[in-house]
């Protein structure tokens, strides 16, 4: 195994890029949870999202990389930063665990053990999933309802699109309803009570 890895380091730039983006991901993710200032955490989270998009790009999942930048680094981070600015979190109350280093060390050890459990579980799953991939070749996507029908696609985006609109049409529509309900719920939750608005009518705008 090690010889193969060394050969990869010498011969492939994508492996080096993966090492770089993975290091950036881990360092900025650690910075997210250990920074005192929440705005610095948010900026670190933006870097985490961008480096994950880079990893998706290396792996060839171009649609997912684009969506990562658009949805996570764009929309969700705008929401988080907006809320941080609305709440003006300059006087951040620090975690209790910062004053108890033993607790911090114990929780870190817990997370480390959690990582090893997770990693062993994931990698023992790898040899047992040996069957050849079905339904997806690089240039065509098979669609089972029409018998022998295959949809000729070019590139990652078209393949994901074919899979979304042929196999997962019902979940796609349900996601749109879920997003509508979530936006309505967010508006209802975040707006003031009607009586409060009437009381402070002079202050509103």
């Amino acid at each position: 195994m090690d010889e193969i890895i060394y050969m990869n380091i010498e011969s492939s730039p994508s492996f080096l890029l993966f090492i770089f983006f993975g290091t950036v991901t881990v360092v900025t993710a650690l910075s997210v949870i250990f920074q005192k200032n929440p705005v610095v955490s948010a900026v670190s989270l933006v870097f985490t999202f961008f480096s994950l998009a880079g990893i998706y790009g290396i792996m060839g999942a171009l649609f997912i990389a684009t969506m990562q930048v658009l949805v996570y680094a764009g929309a969700i981070m705008v929401l988080i930063v907006f809320v941080l600015m609305l709440l003006s979190q300059r006087t951040e109350t620090l975690s209790r665990y910062r004053k108890h280093p033993i607790r911090l060390v114990l929780l870190s050890l817990f997370a480390l053990g959690f990582f090893f459990l997770l990693y062993s579980a994931l990698t023992t799953g790898v040899p047992h999933s040996e069957q050849k991939g079905k339904g997806y070749e690089l240039t065509e996507y098979s669609f089972p309802i029409q018998g022998t029908g295959t949809v000729n696609t070019k590139g990652n985006v078209a393949t994901v699109g074919a899979s979304t609109y042929l196999d997962y049409l019902l979940p796609f529509e349900m996601i749109s309803i879920l997003l509508l309900v979530a936006v309505l719920g967010a508006v209802i939750l975040a707006k003031k009570r009607l009586t409060e608005v009437e009381q402070t009518k002079d202050n509103v705008l």
Partner: protein, 106 residues
């Protein structure tokens, strides 16, 4: 099943996803600011997305990438509702420290 995706070993990517998940769990455990807990949840969701894409590429089956799209949509919905909840709680309690949110304890 390919053990390599574009010369990257699959186990390395899974290890990165595991590290990211553990960092998210650690953030939820040690932080008391509710917005940073939200950011840790986003880290966890991202690590799951990474596992989905990895297995989608390694098994050459496209469904993993499609499901990542759905996970992103649900994460966006969760962020919208959760941050609206944060604003409502802040208006009520004047605080974003989860230690002070004890009104449901009996």
């Amino acid at each position: 099943m390919n053990q390599f995706i574009n010369d990257i070993p699959v186990s390395y990517i899974l290890g990165l996803a595991g590290i990211l998940f553990s960092i998210g769990v650690l953030g939820i455990l040690i932080r008391r600011n509710i917005v940073i807990i939200f950011m840790s949840v986003e880290l966890i969701l991202n690590s799951v997305n990474l596992v989905f894409v990895t297995f989608s590429k390694a098994l050459s089956h496209i469904s993993g990438e499609t499901i990542v799209f759905f996970v992103m949509a649900i994460a966006a919905a969760e962020a919208a509702v959760g941050l609206a909840l944060v604003i409502a709680i802040f208006r009520h309690k004047k605080s974003t420290n989860v230690d002070e949110l004890q009104s449901m304890r009996w």
